[in-house]
């Protein structure tokens, strides 16, 4: 054995690394799941021609006028049949011939129905001979960087960093406590800080694999942009992962059973899944709760990842979220070192 192999910190870290890699479920959640999610979202929100909207009219000549618009497909049905079709959602709008004009029946809280209303009215007015007062043309945006997939990839990365750190720490620490392994470890001359540090070291080693696999996939398949510096992106991933690890350590510092631990973990992660802007911008939440939303580590992590990848910001421009992440490293770590239950 060489000197490195004799070091207890090395042995502890390599043990953690091995244990993670020998757990097939962990491999799935860490590597496969985020990629599947990105593929699913990429398909769901792929940039396709705008939807053709289903509408209907009560008279054939109205139907012909509607069908002339590329954005609409139209059928003819009488009023009762049309109402039923509206209720079942198979059409978005029914154009009803009135003695003095046309009535549109649709749900104005449904954005697609409102779009259908605009298109239908334009088609009918145009068929009746209306001419545009101002000539106009459309310019479509489909370039990388402004699509939903570009927005969601940093969000998924942040969510994945959180999940793998908290689950990875939480379950294995509580399992070791439950199986009396923690007690056995502290009955040996092992320095206690090394045991906890080994979790962080193996986490960072896995992080490299995890982040490279996920972002590499996003780059190759979706051509997601990397506008900021890559080494800063790496640093941000490390910082985010450390803050989630510290949180995972805190969550698992007392729990004696898996049930208690998994309840706590969900309690900690659920608000962040909802509030931290993984799938849509966190700024959509009301101003009253914004201070809470901003203070969450996942919000800060995702903000910095988006800032780096999408806006090409450097770390100096993202002082506030980085400070929040640093606080989330220091405070939970310090608290859990004090309250950690070794037996």
């Amino acid at each position: 054995m060489n000197k490195l192999q004799r070091s207890s910190l090395y042995q502890l870290s390599i043990m953690r690394f091995r244990l993670t890699l020998r757990e097939p479920e962990a491999i799935f959640w860490v590597f496969i799941f985020p990629i599947l999610l990105a593929v699913g979202l990429g398909i769901a929100f792929r940039n396709r021609p705008a939807d053709v909207l289903q509408v209907a009219a009560t008279r054939p000549q109205l139907t012909r006028a509607l069908a002339a618009d590329k954005g609409l497909t139209a059928t003819t049905m009488d009023e009762p049949a049309g109402s039923r079709a509206l209720a079942s959602g198979s059409i978005l709008l029914l154009a009803i011939q009135q003695p003095d004009g046309v009535a549109y029946r649709y749900d104005d809280t449904n954005p697609d129905a409102r779009t259908a209303r605009l298109l239908a009215d334009r088609a009918i007015q145009t068929a009746a001979g209306r001419r545009d007062a101002v000539s106009s043309e459309d310019q479509h945006i489909h370039e990388p960087g402004a699509r939903y997939i570009d927005f969601v990839v940093p969000g998924l990365l942040g969510m994945n960093l959180m999940g793998s750190a908290i689950w990875g720490m939480g379950f294995s620490i509580v399992e070791a406590r439950q199986k009396k392994l923690l007690k056995r470890m502290v009955a040996s001359p092992m320095p206690r800080w090394q045991y906890l540090a080994s979790y962080l070291i193996s986490r960072l080693a896995l992080l490299v694999l995890e982040v490279v696999a996920f972002l590499g996939f996003a780059r190759l398949i979706f051509a997601v942009p990397f506008r900021g510096s890559l080494w800063q992106l790496a640093l941000l991933c490390v910082l985010a992962s450390l803050s989630f690890s510290a949180l995972g350590l805190l969550v698992s510092s007392r729990a004696k059973t898996m049930e208690a631990a998994s309840g706590l973990m969900n309690l900690v992660m659920l608000p962040m899944w909802i509030l931290s802007g993984v799938f849509f911008s966190a700024s959509r939440f009301p101003a009253v709760i914004q201070p809470i939303v901003r203070a969450l580590p996942l919000t800060a992590a995702i903000d910095t990842l988006r800032g780096n990848m999408l806006q090409g910001m450097n770390m100096g421009q993202m002082f506030a979220p980085i400070a929040i992440l640093l606080a989330w490293v220091a405070v939970p770590f310090a608290v859990s070192l004090r309250i950690f239950r070794w037996r």
Binding site: Y10, L19, K180, L181, A187, S188, P189
Partner: protein, 322 residues
């Protein structure tokens, strides 16, 4: 006190407990315990579950802090010498489960890395006779093999003082004998061993001295032979009575105790126990006395006195009833 006194004590005494007390909530687990274990001795704490054995051994191992009392190991104490002590003792806890997906060799390599000095991993694998299982994952080991791995982890730092908490609980008889052989070899090598057990045959077989514990106290202390001799006889005669000719009740205890050669008598759920020194002399007399009283036997057997009988004499209970 002479200048050389503490030094001499360190050389001869491996473990010293004075007035050690520990309670959990309102349960007193260990009640003013005094113990002294010499170097190269194999010392056993024998008692039923809940007697305070594990609390006692964990106080010795520095895992539980006593409420009061003095604890010294190898002349050091846990307050000032913890780092040094951890290097010099070996510990095997009750029911430790090593990570199932690590191999035997990986677990031992990990534990070896914690000790400044110790034996090579290879040697610890050999001494626990796990050569064939070196590359096997912990999850695939049998109960006995897991226990030998735990033992190997305790030995990998070449400890001066070895603690074994219920080393054979839950093992089948063959695995138990296998582990006993391992402990025998450690004893022959002159290592100090402190073990807890609720198997009296284990204490008899392995220990130079035994402390019988119950409710956090030591009831009796001595070599297994001394303790058995203290019962007053080397053999136990047990019998049960099925019927009575005159029908006036059970056997007369006073008359049974009065038989020459019978040291004591007790009865438990219809089973009479007499301790006797010389079977060939006492048994005919017991038969004669029972016949004289007009009693019919439904059972009659004898066995050599064991620590179990000592425990029963001291507490009126069986070790395993708990």
């Amino acid at each position: 006190m002479l200048n050389g006194e503490p030094r001499r004590q360190e050389e001869s005494t491996a473990l010293l407990l004075r007035g050690v007390r520990k309670s959990f909530a309102d349960v007193v687990a260990v009640d003013h315990l005094d113990l002294e274990v010499a170097r190269a001795e194999c010392f056993g704490l024998l008692g039923p579950n809940g007697a305070g054995k594990t609390t006692t051994i964990e106080i010795c191992e520095g895992l539980t802090a006593p409420d009061e009392g003095r604890v010294e190991l190898l002349g050091l104490n846990w307050r000032s010498g913890a780092g040094e002590l951890r290097q010099r003792i070996g510990v095997q806890l009750q029911e430790t489960q090593f990570p199932e997906k690590l191999t035997v060799e990986e677990v031992l390599r990990l534990f070896r890395s914690f000790f400044r000095r110790g034996i090579p991993v290879e040697e610890s694998i050999q001494s626990a006779q796990l050569e064939e299982k070196r590359g096997a994952r912990v999850g695939t080991l049998s109960g006995g093999q897991k226990q030998r791995l735990a033992m190997a982890c305790a030995l990998v730092g070449d400890p001066e003082l070895l603690f074994l908490d219920e080393p054979t609980t839950g093992l089948d008889p063959q695995a138990r004998r296998h582990l006993w052989d391992l402990v025998d070899r450690l004893k022959q090598a002159g290592r100090t061993i402190i073990l807890t057990t609720h198997y009296m045959e284990e204490a008899e077989r392995l220990c130079d001295r035994v402390a019988i514990m119950d409710h956090g106290r030591v009831l009796a202390l001595g070599s297994p032979q001394q303790l058995i001799a203290s019962v007053g006889g080397e053999h136990i005669v047990e019998f049960a009575i099925s019927g009575h000719e005159s029908g006036d009740g059970a056997a007369d205890a006073a008359l049974l105790s009065a038989i020459p050669g019978v040291h004591s008598h007790r009865s438990d759920a219809g089973l009479h126990q007499l301790s006797v020194r010389e079977l060939h002399i006492a048994v005919p007399r017991i038969f004669a006395e029972l016949t004289r009283q007009g009693l019919h036997l439904s059972e009659f057997r004898t066995h050599s006195a064991t620590l179990e009988d000592v425990f029963m004499r001291l507490t009126g209970r069986n070790l395993r009833d708990e």
